[in-house]
């Protein structure tokens, strides 16, 4: 799950990490009050969407009057912001963050991720901030440091000193960073983050360190113990069909093709998409019904697939391990009973109770093609989609 910048900054503030005075507004008429409460004579207004590249897309602006802030909010709230990180439709702007203006001396980069190879939280820091860090990694790797945090010891002062050196901090700033690093780690661990990125971390003209941006991703597996973060979830930033699927514990990703897929297991679902492509077709979606698929869940999966107007044919590929194929077959028929179906359906059932499942499909009144190997089923689906 992703957070908005303003939510990330709320967390930063909670953990004593320096962020600008700010207010978040959801209605344009609140802009003037927000500016006055923050004070000063310059403000930065930032459209809140779950995507980077907002500045270049016009979603960030420096304003001199509260009235300008209001105009910015009127222009963007509820609109779609398209950046190089979004698709062509962009993301809906659901809030505007208004901040006091920061005098920037120097821009730095700091992030923390879970590194799968070392199996540790690793901090990545560079003196080159405000730019694409992947380019820095490629062009000047000597300007980047990777510092792993041992789960047994936590971050140690010498590690903060090592990062400070790469960041080019002076003695006073290094001391500040030495106090900040344990707080970043604490935030990362306590809130079950999978990514924390501050780009840029800046040295202000007065010499102090300051978090100018905040990008946070949360480990979805840990949401059961993060009620505060669950509250922060913004459904407007997600595909409506993906949200609907999530309600039924289905993993769904919308794609551009016309062959609707329903598969059990993420790996097999990707393998099925690959197979469709191999035979010249194009999948309309990724959909994993999961290992413990019930008849009801299968019915809901089917409805979500059929709700997509692009879908010309549905391919069901189930390898029953935990899940019983006869239940899947009944789920498919129940869904068709309920929503009706105007496109051909090709089903491949294998594994646990596959024969019973195939018999249930064959005995039904609907014209569903049941094939017992994936090659034939995928080829047939591609043929029907043309």
């Amino acid at each position: 799950m992703n957070l908005h910048e303003y939510q990330g900054k709320q967390l930063f503030a909670e953990y004593g990490l320096p962020v600008s005075n700010n207010k978040v507004i959801h209605r344009a008429e609140d802009a003037v009050d927000a500016c006055n409460e923050i004070g000063g004579d310059k403000w930065v207004v930032k459209a809140q969407v779950h995507a980077g590249g907002r500045g270049k897309a016009g979603g960030v602006k420096l304003v001199d009057t509260p009235e300008e802030a209001k105009q910015f909010a009127e222009h963007w709230l509820g609109k779609q912001l398209v950046t190089y990180q979004t698709d062509a439709n962009g993301q809906t702007v659901s809030a505007i963050l208004i901040e006091s203006c920061t005098d920037i001396g120097k821009e730095l980069y700091l992030s923390a991720v879970i590194d799968r190879s070392s199996r540790k939280i690793v901090f990545i820091a560079s003196s080159e901030g405000g730019v694409n860090i992947e380019e820095v990694a490629q062009n000047s790797p000597e300007k980047i440091i990777y510092e792993p945090i041992d789960p047994l010891t936590g971050p140690l002062p010498f590690q903060a000193r090592r990062i400070s050196k790469i960041l080019g901090l002076d003695a006073a700033q290094a001391k500040q960073f030495g106090q900040m690093l344990p707080n970043f780690v604490k935030l990362f661990q306590e809130k079950d983050l999978s990514l924390l990125e501050i780009n840029p971390l800046v040295i202000k003209e007065d010499g102090n360190l300051h978090c100018l941006d905040a990008k946070i991703n949360i480990d979805s597996n840990a949401l059961f113990r993060q009620p505060q973060l669950v509250e922060m979830h913004d459904p407007t930033q997600e595909d409506p069909k993906e949200q609907e699927a999530a309600k039924f514990d289905l993993s769904y990703v919308s794609l551009d093709g016309n062959i609707g897929c329903m598969v059990n297991g993420a790996g097999l679902a990707m393998g099925t998409m690959d197979t469709i492509k191999f035979f010249g077709g194009d999948p309309a979606n990724f959909l994993d019904v999961g290992g413990t698929a019930t008849q009801e869940r299968v019915a809901n999966a089917f409805k979500i697939i059929l709700a997509d107007p692009k879908v010309k044919v549905v391919l069901v590929n189930i390898f029953g391990g935990i899940v019983r194929c006869d239940l899947i077959a009944k789920g498919i028929l129940a869904a068709i009973d309920e929503v009706g179906v105007k496109v051909p359906v090709v089903v491949r059932l294998e594994g646990n109770n596959a024969d019973t499942g195939s018999a249930i499909i064959a005995d039904s009144d609907y014209e569903i093609e049941s094939l017992n190997n994936l090659e034939e089923a995928a080829k047939r689906a591609v043929e029907l989609a043309q």
Binding site: R116, S117, A266, T275
Partner: protein, 289 residues
Amino acid sequence: MSILVNKQTRLLVQGFTGSQATMHSEQSIAYGTNIVGGVTPGKGGTTHLDKPVFNSVLEAKEAVDPNAAIIFVPAPFCKDSILEAADAGIELIICITEGVPTMDMLVVKEKIDALGLRLIGPNCPGVITPGEAKLGIMPGDIHLKGSVGIISRSGTLTYEAVKQTTDLGLGQSTCVGIGGDPIPGSSFIDILQLFQEDKETEAIVLVGEIGGSAEEEAADFIAQNVSKPVISYIAGQTAPAGKRMGHAGAIIAGGKGTAEDKIKKLKSCGVHIADNLLEIGNTVKSVLG
């Protein structure tokens, strides 16, 4: 021979009396697996599926001496259950449960390694040695005793590879699902090492998927340490970047972890690639000649 599990495996089931554990334990027993008991705190002293139930792993260890444990408890309690099994000195711990927080796994993995124990999973189908023992949720009847070792990050994809090698009469020595999470208890490399040392295994199938760099690391290990033929299929060749494909691990992030990169790397390290899912079995057969 085989790896990890065999007829000598004495299995303890954690979360034994739950519905999933019950269903899969029944199937494991029917397959011939020696389940020596189970653990459900508060239900110690009772019996379930004709096996003794204990309040703790330590009590079970003293009473029935298990050498492997399989975990079916809900995700919020897996850290506790895995470390309880580790504390009791169970050498092989298999965690089936899906949805364990990554932060929990960072600590669990560190501890398991420090104790010199072996963890498989979480979020995996388990381990099976055909004809000997089934420690997991895979359908037993698609397996056939044979010569191919299978390692996979994905459950149902493993079944697909199993079925193809069974249909061709090759069979499997042992099949290991390492799970699709970012921090698995055992890596491809850990299992490759075991298959390399196993006399019964003649070829190894490595089923990978997009995301992370586990396949690339495995490729380097294979080039240096594995003399047996390795056949690989990578799922997610058509997956778009930035979208998480179900498994917590399966995401192409920042242009990294693509199927194309993984296949290129594996090929350069001498691994035979099955271009598509349907060709896994045939590729093994042609490599073995």
